[in-house]
């Protein structure tokens, strides 16, 4: 009997069909990757395996058997025994997936005692044991910490420890590394891999990131609109995809080993320059430098990638470049002159296309803001220019009067780009412009930025945590860590022969699309950590 048997599963939320006739099996000890873009229904499937839709009003059809339990027909008590006991789930956001009010160890102990008859003391001991198992240092002491005292990676480890507590046969991991930095992501994926080798539990990995799946599972199931597009061994699906959609999806994934198709439009003329920038936050003992002694030069027509993990100071640097933040010391020079405050020539595109647009104003009005700020009063001219910009970024002129919620994430990011273009800038600083987008949308937005750059001779500063995207778009790259630039040079040099140990570590952590490469990188990481 298989560990998981899903037959013709359908899940509907009101008129919306999230999963539409999905069937698959997972054998004991095997690993399956459920891959798809947002809205593909992959997380809904994961929830259905534990019967989490029961009582929510969702309509579930078909049959789901997990570890011998018929999830559809099971009584509430049977379902509770399945959840956490035979099949455990690790969620996406480790920040919010633990109760902020209780100690981490107590939360694990609580779950343990739901499934195993044990004293409080024995349950706590078990919690410490599993926390130690997932690599929490000084587990006995840290078990008494509350979640906010843990880093993101440690919280995710704690959740995995909770999953391990009752020795389940199946681990369901729903986007387990999406909120984490790339080096931490690699550690968590390696941990899952090792645990699987040791305990022989099955793994269902739900992810939007093909690279994450490639290195961690044996089989892959590509989902779209609630249906299976392609299903097979990971090497064949990724190596020789049979379906058009899979091909498109793989084509859109940025590769860390492919350099930018250069078009030679880069000149020697420096447009924007950062000179020994330093920015401090906080007071007294809590004072720290978010950006420390950073000097950069951005040339006309080039893209400078700034890559770093969370807390590296890359966003602070980006904000100083556009003048949204004043440096504590140092200067930003535009065409040789020191700048203070914002200027139309240097614009910004923000990360979150949802919150960076005012939901109560039409997108046309948002795009018109920079024009009005420059003193344009002629409504006819403003409308004309905005329509032009909307069309330029691949939207329709008629979208002027629509509101942000009517657009998809990618379209909203296009609106953000149109707004940045309205001021006719020569430099655009893009802060994580595609990190909230699906890979296919991401590829479209990246292509749009490339087109605009060629056409308008724009200089782009591309701030991102994703090493592959940065490589795809950048002529030169700066790697940041703890406020400082640790490596700075032409993209190909930085990526192909990194000098700094941190850059090497980052590159070794990037998930690879080829399972063999992924295995090699895993070994390389083990050596790096052992060294």
């Amino acid at each position: 009997m298989s560990l998981v048997e899903v037959t013709d599963l359908t899940v509907g939320f009101g008129p919306l069909s999230a999963v539409d006739g999905l069937s698959f099996r997972l054998e004991k000890g095997a690993a399956l990757g459920l891959v798809g873009e947002s809205g593909s229904g992959k997380s809904t499937v994961a929830s259905a395996l534990l019967g989490l839709h029961r009582g929510t009003g969702a309509v579930v059809g078909g049959a789901v058997r997990v570890a011998g339990t018929d999830v559809q027909r099971a009584s509430d008590d049977e379902l509770r025994r399945l959840r956490g006991g035979k099949a455990a789930m690790v969620f996406q956001d480790p920040l919010s997936s633990l109760d902020p009010y209780y100690a981490v160890g107590d939360q694990i102990a609580e779950v343990y005692r739901v499934h195993v008859k044990a004293s409080r003391r024995a349950a706590r001991a078990r919690a410490v044991e599993v926390l130690d198992r997932v690599g929490i240092p000084d587990a006995a002491r840290r078990a008494r910490s509350r979640p906010h005292e843990f880093s993101g990676g440690m919280r995710q480890r704690a959740l995995i420890a909770m999953a391990l507590a009752c020795e389940p046969d199946l681990l369901i991991a729903d986007e387990p590394t999406t909120a984490l930095d790339v080096t931490v992501q690699a550690q968590i994926l390696d941990l899952l891999h090792t645990l699987r080798e040791e305990t022989g539990m099955g793994l269902l990995l739900v992810t939007h990131d093909v690279g994450v799946a490639a290195g961690s599972v044996d089989e892959i199931l590509v989902m779209r609109h609630g249906r299976a597009v392609e299903h097979g061994p990971v090497a064949s699906v990724l190596g020789a995809p049979g379906e058009t959609y899979t091909q498109e999806l793989l084509g859109a994934v940025p590769r860390v080993d492919a350099s930018r198709e250069s078009d030679g439009g880069v000149s020697d003329e420096v447009v924007l320059e950062a000179v020994e920038l330093r920015r401090e936050f906080g007071h007294g003992k809590r004072q720290f430098a978010a950006v420390d002694d950073v000097s950069l030069a951005i040339h006309r027509g080039e893209t400078l990638g700034i890559v770093g993990e969370s807390g590296s100071g890359k966003t602070t640097l980006g904000r100083m470049l556009v003048g949204l933040l004043e440096p504590t010391t140092g200067a930003v020079r535009y065409e040789g002159r020191a700048q203070s405050g914002v200027s139309p020539s240097v614009q910004m595109v923000f990360q979150d296309p949802v919150s960076s647009l005012n939901p109560r104003r039409s997108v046309g009005e948002s795009i018109a803001d920079p024009l009005r700020a420059r003193g344009e009063r002629d409504e006819g001219r403003i409308r004309g220019r905005v329509r032009e910009l909307l069309e330029r970024v691949g939207l329709e002129a008629a979208h002027y009067d629509r509101y942000p919620h009517e657009f998809s994430g990618g379209q909203r990011q296009r609106v953000g780009i149109a707004r940045a273009l309205a001021a006719e800038p020569r430099v655009i600083v893009c802060d994580e412009p595609v990190s909230a987008l699906d890979v296919t949308t991401q590829a479209q937005v990246v292509a749009l930025l490339g087109d605009l750059q060629r056409e308008l001779g724009l200089a782009l500063v591309f701030v991102a945590h994703d090493l592959a995207v940065v490589r795809q778009v950048s002529d030169r790259v700066a790697v940041m860590r703890r406020g400082r630039i640790v490596e700075y040079g032409p993209a190909d040099e930085v990526y192909e022969s990194p000098q700094d140990p941190y850059t090497k570590q980052l590159l070794a952590a990037v998930p690879a699309l080829d399972p063999e490469v992924a295995a090699r990188r895993r070994t390389a990481r083990r050596e790096l950590t052992a060294a």
Binding site: L50, L52, L79, R80, R81, L82, R83, G84, G85, A88, M89, F91, D93, S96, S97, L98, D99, P100, Y101, Y102, E110, V111, V114, H115, R146, H148, L159, M162
Partner: protein, 332 residues
């Protein structure tokens, strides 16, 4: 100083500073306003001689800050008042002398305070039990008929004035059913049992209204917590609904309940006038209203100061409890 002890200390210092500021403002409002302060303080039936005496005792010839200094001195170390022939010593904390009744304000407050505190703290226990209990029930039974009925009842509770609830309770319980005597305040030290029996109705009347607010707050906070991701985690690990409601969701309601409770306790010490009047309880609120009516300035000032003290104290205690309830609160 760092850590929890330092936080409590800093909060205590903050409380003292706030109280000081309150005393300045109250003093200015009552004693630095236009009009003959001595005449007002002494009362309408005072002779010019008496008025002159009062003016001297209030140091009305001195600059304002000296007068305030004397006032503060009285609170901290005590003061002597001469009433023509005899001298009355008013020991610290001396809030002044009522010239209309020749009574020391501190003594007056000390006789009224136990009544108010008995009323408020007894009612507090009830409103917390009733309010939080109802809130938990309606969060648990959300969307069902029983929850809607509970919501309806609590809504009615908010909307009903205390003199309606109190009167109805009194008529039914004491009049019709004769289960309890009509309330009459008995001192706790005299007879604790009678104290409790007599306060039962006032407690309920005050608590029923306050409980409604707590029920709604508890329900709202719990539903908010129930929608959070960590609840999903525990559901996905087979933790039962009772544990999820009672352990995880309720925990999220602690902080807001503490905050609201501090406000209510603080303001009810001097603000439960309606309840006190209705049940004939000689508490702070009733006395304050009386003092305002007869323009007994020293009594009004003293009472307002004491009420302010309880509001500030309750909030300081709430801040500390808040930090205990939610360890993520940054202690500054």
């Amino acid at each position: 100083m760092n850590g929890f002890g330092g936080f409590v200390l800093r909060r205590a210092i903050g409380t003292v500073v706030t109280l000081f500021a309150i005393s300045v403002i109250i003093y200015l409002v009552f004693y630095a306003t236009p009009g003959n302060v001595a005449q007002i303080t002494c009362g309408p039936r005072c002779s010019p001689v008496q008025v002159h005496q009062v003016a001297q005792q209030l140091h009305l010839d001195d600059p304002l800050y000296v007068r305030y200094w004397h006032f503060l001195q009285g609170i901290v170390v005590g003061q002597d008042y001469s009433t023509g022939t005899s001298v009355q010593h008013c020991s610290a904390p001396c809030l002044g002398l009522s010239y209309q009744t020749d009574q020391q304000v501190t003594q007056l407050i000390l006789t009224k305070l136990p009544v108010s505190l008995s009323l408020v703290f007894g009612a507090m226990v009830l409103w917390l039990v009733l309010g939080v209990g109802t809130g938990v029930l309606s969060a648990w039974r959300r969307g069902r008929l029983s929850e809607r009925m509970l919501t309806g009842i609590t809504l009615a509770g908010v909307a009903t004035p205390v003199f309606v609830i109190g009167l109805v309770l009194m008529i039914v319980v004491c009049g019709q059913l004769q289960l309890l005597p009509f309330p009459q305040y008995v001192d706790f030290t005299d007879d604790p049992e009678q104290w409790a029996w007599n306060l039962l109705l006032p407690w309920f009347s005050l608590a029923l209204i306050e409980a409604a607010a707590f029920a709604r707050l508890t329900r709202a906070s719990m539903l908010e917590t129930l929608a959070e991701d960590h609840i999903r985690t525990f559901r996905a690990y087979g933790v039962g609904e009772r544990s999820i409601i009672g352990r995880h969701a309720l925990r999220g309601a602690f902080a807001p309940v503490i905050a609201l409770n501090a406000n209510n306790v603080g303001s009810a010490v001097g603000g439960a006038v309606l309840t006190e009047t209705l049940f004939g309880l000689p508490g702070i609120g009733q006395e304050l209203v009386h003092a305002v009516n007869v323009v007994d300035l020293p009594v009004v000032v003293g009472m307002v100061l004491v009420i302010g003290f309880f509001v500030v104290l309750a909030n300081a205690v709430a801040d500390v409890l808040y930090a205990v309830a939610d360890r993520r609160v940054v202690l500054v």
